[in-house]
Each structure stands twice: as C-alpha cells, then as structure tokens.
C-alpha cells in the first residue's frame, strides 16, 4: 500500500500548491488522498479556513527548497495541515435564529467551535450596533420560563444542542447590564454590606483595587454572601427558608440547630454541572414568596424536574448579588477575561461610531440595526488572518470569496450588493458613507433584518465546489460537512415570533423581488403550528426540510438512533448501505475522481 513517504513527496506537495491556487481542486485532491487512506472523513468546503490558519507556511509556489531540514519542516507543516483538515471536516454548523430587541430576527450560521464572543462580534457587524460591553446573547427556556445570559467565552452551539426538538426556546441579542456589572461597580458586590453612599462615591482607583484583589490574585475570591433565601424543596410545592452561604466551592446552607461554622455547613450544590438562570413568573407558576428567583439546573434539563433548584430572594438586588456571585464562583477569571475582551471591542467600536454614545444602553431602542449610523469597525482583515477563524458563512459557501467577512450591507434594497459585488477584496471599505447618512430613520425596511445578504448566499451556481456532487440549491444548510453520527443537527432555533410584535409580520416576508434572496431556513414545523404567518419563501426543496424534521439534539439519552437520517446531498440516495454519510460521500467522490 501507499506509504506516507510517497504521499508526502507527491500528494501533499501538490496539495499545498493547490490549496493556495485552486480551492476546488484541492478538495478533490485531498479527498482523493484520504480516500486512498481510508480516512474516516473527507474535509468538505473548508479550505479557506485551513489556508488562512496556516499562513506561516512557506508558499509552495516559491519553489521547492533544496535543504533537507526545510523539507522536514514543510513535511511537518503539511501533516499538521492535513490533520487540521481532518478535524475541520468534522465541524458541525448550525443555523441559529437570533431575536433582536425589536422583535425582528437574524439568522446566523454558527460553527460548533465558535464562542459566544465570536457570534457577538458577528452580530455587531450585521447590526451596526454600538458594540458596548453589555450586548449579550441570552437563551430563554419557554417551558420552564427561564432566562440566562450566555457568558462570552462559552461555546455557542453546545447549549443549543440541549434544546428539545420542538423547543420554543429562543436566543436573544440584548444589552444586559448584569453581565459585567461586577467589573464596573465591584464594590456593590464585594462591599455590599457598606452603606449606599460609600458605595456610590467609590473612587475609581478603589474599584480597580477591588478587581485586582478578587480577580487577579492567585485564586478568585467570591463575594462574601450569606443570607436567608427561600428554597423550593425537591419536587414539592412548598418553600422553606434556609440560611445559605456562597463559597468558591459551592452553595451551602446551615442545617437547623447548627452554627454557621464552616464545618457544619451542608453542601447544597456545586457548580460544575449547573448553570444559574433567572426564573420568570415564579409567583404564579410555583406560588413563590417573591418574584426574585434564581434557578440552578443542569443545562441539559429542559422540562420540569425535581433536579431543578429554585431559590427566591427578598429583593431584586439580592437576587442579582447571588446570581453574579455564583457566576464568579463558577467561571472565575474567565469572566474578567471576557470583560476585558468586550471592553477592547467596545473601545474600538466607539472610536468608529461617531454619533451614538457607546455607553448608552437604552433597552427600548427598537432595533440595534439603526444604532450606529456609521459602520462598525472593520475587522475583516483580522478575520482573514485569524488562525483558526470560525468560518463565517461565506467561507464555507460558494462562491468562494476572497473576503470572508463582507462589510455590512447597506441597509437599503437598492444598494444590496448582488452576487458579483460581493467579491470584494479583503479590507474593502464598508458601504459608502453617503448611503448611510441618508439612511431613513427607523423603522428600517424589515426585510433586511430577515435576510442580510452577507450571510445568506445567493442560489449557488456552484462553480466553487465544482468537484462536489452537485448540491441542491440549499446547500447553505444541507451540505455542510455533516460528521458521521450524529447527523447534522440544524437546531431549530426558530421559534414563533411573539405575536404581540406588530412589526414582525412584515419582517418575516422576504423580499420576493430580490433575485438574490435565498429563503430563510426551511420552515420550522413549530413555526407554522404556532399560528404565525408563514413566510412565503420559494418552496424549499423537500430534502432540505427533512434533516430539520429529523434533527435531534446530540447527547439526548432517550431518542437514540432512529432511522438513518436523510441525507441532504444527492449522493445520500445512491450511497445505500454505506453506514454513515461520510463514507457515502467518499464513495461518490471516488466515482468522480475515478472518472
């Protein structure tokens, strides 16, 4: 059989050249190689990412170096590249619908490796918002009436995978003061026992010292919290008062008749496997003594369960103290890192945003889209060079564009770039200011929110991935590298929009007159059943809809292996008994390359 030495000398070399030169050919090549190697999975449509990720590589076009050590180095690099590509091939992508403040929504493609921070950055560009540190992504749990702000370092996709198939949970894009309040006013958390005036008059240098002491030392210090809270007992309806204490190692309570001494404390919960949520409407739902309720549960739990812990506080501030304290105990220095990163981002952004005040956090602002009148900064260049970048949609979709992140679209139908326009070079300036300045005040034409052209691809002419089995028009979602089991889980994060929003109806209609427009993700069954006006997209191809129907959260215990999921690519049909999608794909590739 083929030895790796040979492989290195021939194929990898060629591969390198190809990578830079011709993307589609690369795919073919690599696929062919891997086929020969009986690789588990061929990488699909991820070349751009890999290329940019390995920028330090000497360009192979420069001619083959004669020295052996250079060759050895190149060999190592190539192997690394090949390994990265193998990894890349397994990456899942999800279509996530994010609700804006005004009730409109944006649909994003999220790579399973992307963090919340990256998704936020992505949203900043799409919405032109002021990028202040409070912008957050939150999840709501409809069934349990819970709400949680994602931490910026968290993986974006993971919590969404825990949602049930027919979930009405939502992802919100909102300003949340609580996310980083502890870094803006640490005294309110760490010196909360002091009188209000002292706290209010705290000097900046004293605040800094508090942050330094509690977040920058050898270990994270959690706020000193102790107090009586109401606890809803496991599975029962009654609420009992208990004296709770927060420690770095968990929440404890003082058992009846015992002292507050540490050794008598009983552990109530440790934080490894739980998240903290805000519980809504608990007075009605659970006869809670107050509506200031925080909830601790395993992120996977989505329905009523005795494993969910409800704790009620006397007032709103106490609740926020506890919730923040728990987050500090759980995430520690990560939170501080998140804050610093968010701050950096907002400083850069505010430098570019001339009119809107970065610190303003007016919750009632109808849409983030209109906040910044100018375009946010253009980290396109950064994106292009960032190793290994979360591939924005453009990177993984045809036609391949040299600019992975396109400038935000000018918010008018007229100026909407058509296909060719999108091939702008990296670092191309944002839409002309003139257009921006002439922007009509809110409300904006709703369709833009629904279908920003920079992430919904035009119906692919498919030149970019010519080597592929021709994907259906909807490849944007269907043909994304679906790893072997589980099947690509396009989480249905498209809950019905709240009926109360008048504007939403309009926003749901894609502009039929726009030829470039691609239908939003296939209609969710829930969507229609909830009575919201169904969008009139071009009828989605049948197979594109099927995976959605079959989509199930990975990691769910109960719904294990159903009938093999339907494939989204034509190969799937012919593949037959191959077992998993990848091998089927491979088979198809082979046929092609044998040709």
């Amino acid at each position: 059989s083929e030895s790796l030495h040979e492989l290195e000398d021939t194929d990898l070399d060629a591969l390198m050249a190809d990578l830079v030169a011709d993307l589609s050919a690369t795919e073919e090549k690599l696929t062919a190689e891997i086929q020969g190697l009986k690789a588990p999975s061929p990488p699909l449509s991820s070349s751009l990412v890999s290329t940019s990720a390995t920028s330090p590589l000497p360009p192979p076009q420069a001619g083959k170096p004669s020295k052996e050590d250079i060759e050895a180095q190149m060999k190592a690099d190539k192997i690394k590249l090949a390994l990265e590509k193998l990894k890349e091939a397994k990456v899942k992508k999800l279509v996530v619908k994010v609700l804006m403040n005004d009730g409109s929504s944006k649909t994003l493609m999220v790579d399973e490796r992307q963090t919340v921070r990256e998704v936020l950055d992505n949203l900043f560009e799409k919405t032109h918002c002021d990028a202040n540190v409070d912008w957050s992504l939150c999840e709501t749990n409809y069934e349990l009436q819970l709400e949680r702000t994602f931490e910026d370092h968290e993986n974006m996709v993971e919590p969404l995978l825990a949602w049930t198939r027919d979930s009405e949970n939502k992802v919100l894009f909102q300003e949340r003061r609580d996310k980083f309040e502890v870094f803006k006013n640490p005294q309110n958390f760490y010196l909360w026992k002091k009188d209000k005036k002292t706290l209010k008059d705290m000097k900046d240098k004293d605040k800094e010292l508090l942050i330094k002491e509690n977040f920058c030392g050898p270990s994270i210090i959690v706020p000193d919290l102790e107090g009586v809270l109401y606890l809803k007992e496991d599975g029962k309806k009654s609420w009992k008062q208990r004296l709770f204490q927060l420690r770095a190692s968990g929440i404890y309570y003082v058992p009846k008749g015992k002292t507050k001494s540490s050794r008598d404390l009983v552990c109530f919960v440790q934080f490894d496997n739980v998240n903290v949520y805000f519980g809504k409407d608990v007075k009605n739902r659970y006869k809670a003594p107050t509506d200031f309720c925080f909830v601790l549960k395993h992120p996977q739990i989505q329905k009523e369960s005795q494993y969910i812990k409800y704790l009620c506080c006397d007032d709103d501030w106490t609740m926020r103290l506890w919730m923040t304290g728990i987050r500090i105990a759980k995430y520690g220095a990560l939170l501080h890192g998140n804050y610093k990163a968010a701050e950096k981002k907002s400083v850069v952004s505010s430098a570019w945003t001339n009119r809107s005040t970065p610190s303003s956090s007016n919750q009632s602002t109808p849409s983030p889209t209109i906040r910044g009148t100018r375009c946010p900064p253009h980290p396109q260049e950064d994106f292009g060079n960032l190793p290994p970048p979360p591939p924005p949609l453009n990177e993984i979709l045809p036609p391949p564009s040299p600019d992975p992140v396109l400038p935000p679209p000018p918010p008018s139908l007229a100026s909407k770039p058509s296909g060719p326009h999108r091939k702008q070079p990296s670092g191309f300036p944002p839409p002309p200011l003139g257009i921006d300045n002439n922007l009509p005040p809110p409300p904006l034409p709703p369709p833009i929110d629904e279908a920003p052209p920079d992430f919904l691809p035009p119906p692919p002419p498919n030149t970019g991935i010519g080597s592929f089995p021709p994907p259906p028009p909807n490849t944007g979602f269907g043909s994304l590298p679906p790893p072997p089991p589980p099947p690509p889980p396009p989480v249905s994060s498209l809950p019905p929009p709240p009926a109360s929003f008048g504007g939403i109806k309009k926003s749901l209609h894609p502009p039929p007159q726009d030829p470039q427009f691609l239908p939003p993700p296939p209609p969710d069954p829930v969507f229609t059943s909830a009575g919201a006006p169904p969008p009139p997209p071009p009828p989605p191809p049948a197979f594109a809809a099927t995976p959605r129907a079959n989509a199930r959260p990975a990691g769910s215990v109960k719904k294990m292996p159903p009938a093999p999921p339907k494939r989204t690519t034509p190969v799937a049909g012919g593949g037959g008994g191959g077992g998993d999608l990848m091998s089927e794909l491979m088979l198809a590739m082979k046929k092609r390359s044998d040709h």
Partner: protein, 645 residues
C-alpha cells in the same frame, strides 16, 4: 587621654576562661578595641564575623569607627566578643528541624533574609520567626530523638552564590548529606499518621487561634536583643499571607513549605472549611504525595501536550518507520473503544428485574449496549451520551462490588443508571472512560491510561485499608485516608467510608502534575473565606469586653466574640494613618470619612499588631520592576515606628 582597663569576655576562649583585659583610652574606636583583643588572645583564625556585644545595654557595638566615649562605654561595661552568626534550631513549616547559622546581630527581618537565602526561599519578607509553643514533654516522647538536618557547615560566603546545580543551590550539592537536606526542603512530606494529627494541639476557637500571634519576634530588633540564645529553637513560618509571584519554576522550596504550612493549617483546623472542601484537600494531599514519590524531579517540567501535537508526533514517528502504511497510521488515529459484557440497572424504571447483562460498547463519549456481542453490529438497544453527566463510584473491594453510578442529564431531568463491572480491571477501564466522557473527552484522550492507573491505585488503597490494619504500612500505595483529613472526620467516618468520598473528589484532580496540584491546593486554601486572617484579642476604646481583631492582607475585621461574627470591616486602602501610643499601648487608626478606631491588645503586644499592619502595607508596595531588591528601609519605617532611637 588617660588609659583605663577594659575587660572583655572572648567566647572562643571557652566558657570558663577569664575575661581578657586590655588597656584602652576613651577615644579608641571599637575597631581598635577588636584589634587589641585579637592580638592579646593570640589565636589565629578568621575573626571577620566577630563583634562586641554590650550585655547590660543589650546592644551590639557594630560601628567600628565609633569611639568608646561615643558609645558611652566605661570600665564597668560587660562586653562579650563573639561571632554574629550562631547556630539556631529552626522548626520548618513541614515540621522538620533544621540547624543553621543565623545572624544574631542584624534585625530579625535581615536575619530571615539570610535564613531564606540558605534554604533557597524567595521573598523572605513574607516569612518570620516566632517562639515555639512550650511543649509539655512527655517522657516517652523523649525516646524519639528528632532528626535534625544540619546546615551549620555551610560557609556563609557560599550561600550568596546564585548558581544553581540541577535546580538546586550549589551549596546543597557539596555532599550527600546536604542533598538530603535539600530533598527534605523541596519534597513534600508523606501524610502524617492519623495519631500524629490527633496528638497535636488544635485551636478550638478564634481566641485560641489568636494566641499564636503573640509569639512573633520583633522584625526590627536582633535575636540577641530578644533573648534568643545560641541553639535555641524557633519556628520559621509564612507570616504575611500574600505570596508574591509564586512560580513553581523558581520556588520549589517556597512552594513546598507553603503547601506544608497550608496542609497543617487545614489538618489542625486552624482554618475552617466545609466537608466537601476537606475531601478535596484530602484528595489533593493524596495525589501530591503519590506524584512526588514517583516523580520527584519533575516539578518544573510540563509534559502537557495538546492532542494535535501528540498526534503529529506519533505521525512523524510512524513516518520514520519503513513498513508503516498510511492505513495503519490512520487506524492509530481513530478513537479506541471499549467492548465488554457489563450489567446495567436503571432504578427509575420500576421493573422487578435487577441487573441485566448486555454487550456494551464505549465509543467517543457514548455508551451503547446490545443484546449480545453478535448483535453489536446493528442498532443498539440504547445509546447514552455521557457528556455532562455525573459519575460516582460505588465500590467495595472486599465484597467485590464494582458499581459505576451515572446520573445522566436529559431534558426531563437526571436519569440514574448503574453499571456493574465484574472485576477491578474492567471497572478501572470503564470508570476511567466514564469520567473522561463526562468531561467531554473521548477515550482517545491522552489522560485515559493515567486515569485507569489512578483508579486502580485508589482501589489498591481501599483493599489495604479493608484488610488488617497492621499491614497498612507495607506498601507505599496504602495511605490511611485518615491521614488526609482533620481529626473531626476520623470520628465521623471510618476509613472505609472516607475513602470513597476522597476518591470522589480525587477524580477531578488526578490528572494534575505535581506543581499544578500544589498550586491548586494553595488556590483552594486561599479561596477559603477565612484565609489570611491573623487574629489578636483586643479591647476597643470605650468597649468593656474583649473582641477579636482579624488582620488580613487587605483589611481589618472586628469579630464580636458573643455573636462570633464579623461586625465591621476596614480596608487598608481607606486608611489615612495609624499610630501607636507606646505609653498606653494603644493602636489608633484613622480611615477616610472620619472613621477613627482605637484599641489595646490583649493576646499580643501592640507592636505585633503594628508590624502586621505596616507589613501588609509594605507587601502591597512590592512591584515587579523592583522585585529583586527588597526595600528594607521602607519595611522598617512601616513596621518599626517605636524604635525611634
């Protein structure tokens, strides 16, 4: 000027020798006195470390240019001519005793610097010396003569040499004996026998904890002035709980000794913690003891490699081999699996059936089971993804019970599942797999094998414990888990009950390297609410009862003894000034916003409180640029106010 006779006791002549009398004039400087003395004794030796001690005035005559007149010395002065560096027995944080030569003439602050230089401990400003607690000597204890590690032979001049040999200061490399001393300093001690812990004094209250702080020596005066004699015993301890730039690379001894001090503080309940925290401390002690025995020199090496790199490495190794085919290569890269017959029990399903046997397959982070091995190609009966689940052992080696309890999250709640293994080997593998999977790691993770190993060694421990207690010391695997927790838990749990609890905590730390484990231990210690508090019983001005002042690195707290609770906190950064009225022995502090407090000290001299506060303020002035040079002057200024000479 008139000459007169001055008699000086020369120590080197022996205890019984009469004083040497020399003829001096009042304008003779101290240096001249020394020259005359040396000439008179006619002993040839290096006198450079010798100096004159004025016994009545309790002072050293260190300014050799000063005349006798300037010092005010007359014929009646009792002077002793003796070396400034003298042997001292030091009780280290790890409980071992080292004998070394310390400076008796410098202020204690500098003496500690010299000691730390010999022991290779950075940041000596964090440590200090205190008088030992008088031990009630029981007669039977006297038989056990304590081992003393001797460092008095170390030439004082060689200590300052910075060159390190094998990460060890050069002066420890001179003999095997010296290397043994270094080993004692830099390697953690094995967990003490439970009886040893039980026998030691344990403070029962905050007031008890306050007493120790009355024993600190004065940093601004020398040992001789504080009546410390040659060969006396003193404790060397970390005094200021703010450890600057702790770095496992350079701080081997410092880290080890700090760990030991922290460990004893936990074991003797000098600092309170919860049961869960105690179990984690226990698990870390077990792990540290195990790792330090197996890899004593690996403290600073970091072997962690990300899986890509290790995969790359194996790839390259493969490439060098001639016969290795690419196919083979990729096979090694595919994730390993576990396949075996196990029994499963799901208590939630109210079936009468108990454990039922199936063919189990562990792949990636999921377990799937089939009716039989033959049917394992088809659809599994069920597949369980273990990511994010809770894994707990339920093991009794003596009864050959090997259960893995899984609490698996699902949208509806947590599902309880028990897996029953046949034997230790099978249990260790599947348990290791479950643990990795619960953290989202697959069996291909590099830690899989070591996870198996640590589970097996813990099983071995339980096996030994469950056997007769006499053979417990036979193997080094066997640690009595009572050695890892405070005596409170000796009473609460039998070792049989304690071991699984510590094992439970152990799973989260089993993969740590030695230095990471030490750092983790210190981190958890430092995160305890009461960490860094030194207590002193005080009487606040205007108050009629004793209260406790807690002195922390960043604040002072007032504890009401009646309530047992913190009633007030003052932070140093709000402090405008503090004063000591030495006549009425009262400390007065002014904070911003016209807050004034004043108190007298009951269990410690107010000098000690003063030095603590000044010391912590000094610690907060340390900065990276100047970390090599210690601003001694500032320290004394902040801590030694009363020494206005």
């Amino acid at each position: 000027m008139a000459a007169w006779d001055l008699s000086v006791t020369v120590e080197d002549l022996g205890p019984d020798a009469p004083p040497v009398t020399i003829s001096v004039a009042s304008d003779l400087h101290v240096g001249g006195v020394i020259v005359k003395l040396v000439e008179k004794t006619q002993i040839k030796r290096d006198w450079s470390d010798h100096a004159l001690w004025w016994d009545q005035k309790k002072m050293w005559l260190l300014r050799t240019a000063w005349t006798l007149e300037k010092y005010g010395i007359h014929a009646d002065a009792r002077l002793i001519f003796m070396p400034q560096h003298r042997p001292l027995k030091l009780d280290l944080p790890n409980g071992k005793t080292v004998r070394l030569r310390a400076c008796f003439s410098d202020p204690v602050f500098q003496t500690v610097m010299g000691i730390c230089r010999q022991l290779n401990i950075r940041h000596p400003e964090e440590l200090s010396l205190l008088r030992p607690v008088e031990e009630k000597k029981k007669k039977k204890d006297k038989d056990l003569t304590e081992e003393i590690y001797d460092l008095t032979e170390v030439p004082l001049s060689s200590v300052s040499r910075p060159c390190l040999y094998n990460g060890m200061p050069a002066h420890f490399a001179e003999s095997e004996k010296m290397e043994a001393v270094y080993k004692m300093l830099s390697i953690t001690q094995t967990p003490p026998a439970p009886e040893v812990i039980t026998k030691q004094y344990r403070p029962a209250s905050v007031v008890d904890k306050a007493h120790i702080n009355g024993r600190w020596l004065d940093s601004s005066r020398c040992l001789m002035q504080q009546n410390i004699q040659e060969n006396d015993r003193l404790w060397l301890r970390f005094k200021y709980y703010t450890f600057y730039e702790l770095d496992p690379k350079y701080d081997v001894v410092r880290l080890t000794q700090l760990y030991e001090q922290a460990r004893w503080a936990i074991l003797l309940e000098d600092i309170d913690c919860t049961e869960e925290e105690m179990m984690l401390f226990g698990a870390l002690q077990y792990h540290i003891s195990k790792v330090s025995q197996s890899e004593p020199q690996a403290l600073s090496t970091n072997t962690a490699m990300d899986d890509l790199e290790s995969a790359l490495l194996s790839l390259e190794v493969k490439m060098e081999g001639e016969s290795s085919s690419a196919t083979e290569l990729l096979e090694t890269m595919t994730a390993p699996e576990l396949n075996d017959y196990l029994k499963i029990f799901r208590p939630k399903r109210l079936t009468l059936k108990g454990y039922k046997q199936y063919w189990f397959k562990f792949q990636d982070t999921s377990i799937a089971y089939f009716k039989s091995k033959e049917e394992s190609i088809g659809e599994p009966i069920q597949q369980i993804n273990l990511k994010g689940c809770e894994v707990a052992p339920d093991v009794n080696v003596a009864a050959q019970k090997f259960l893995i309890r899984l609490l698996i999250p699902a949208p509806e709640g947590m599902n309880e599942v028990f897996l029953r293994c046949e034997n230790e080997r099978q249990y260790a593998q599947w348990m290791a797999g479950c643990r990795l999977a619960s953290k989202g790691k697959s069996l291909a993770d590099s830690s899989f094998q070591s996870e198996i190993q640590s589970i097996r060694s813990f099983l071995a421990m339980q096996r030994n414990n469950s056997g007769s207690s006499s053979n417990a010391a036979s193997s080094d695997e066997s640690i009595n888990t009572h050695s890892l927790v405070s005596p409170r838990y000796h009473k609460k749990y039998k070792t049989k009950q304690l071991t699984p609890r510590i094992l439970d905590a152990y799973q989260n730390v089993a993969q740590l390297s030695l230095s990471d484990a030490l750092m983790r231990f210190l981190q958890i210690w430092q995160a305890l609410p009461d960490f860094g508090l030194s207590y002193v019983v005080v009487r606040f001005k205007g108050s009629r009862k004793d209260e406790v002042l807690g002195i922390a690195p960043n604040r002072l707290i007032r504890i009401d003894l009646g309530v047992g609770d913190v009633v007030k906190t003052w932070r140093y950064n709000n402090m405008k000034q503090w004063n000591v009225n030495w006549d009425i022995r009262q400390v007065a502090i002014e904070f911003e916003g016209n807050v004034n407090i004043a108190f007298s000290c009951v269990t410690a001299d107010c000098r000690i409180v003063h030095e603590f506060i000044g010391g912590y303020i000094f610690m907060s002035t340390r900065s990276r640029e100047k970390s090599d040079v210690l601003n001694q002057e500032l320290f004394h200024k902040l801590t030694g106010g009363h020494e206005a000479l």
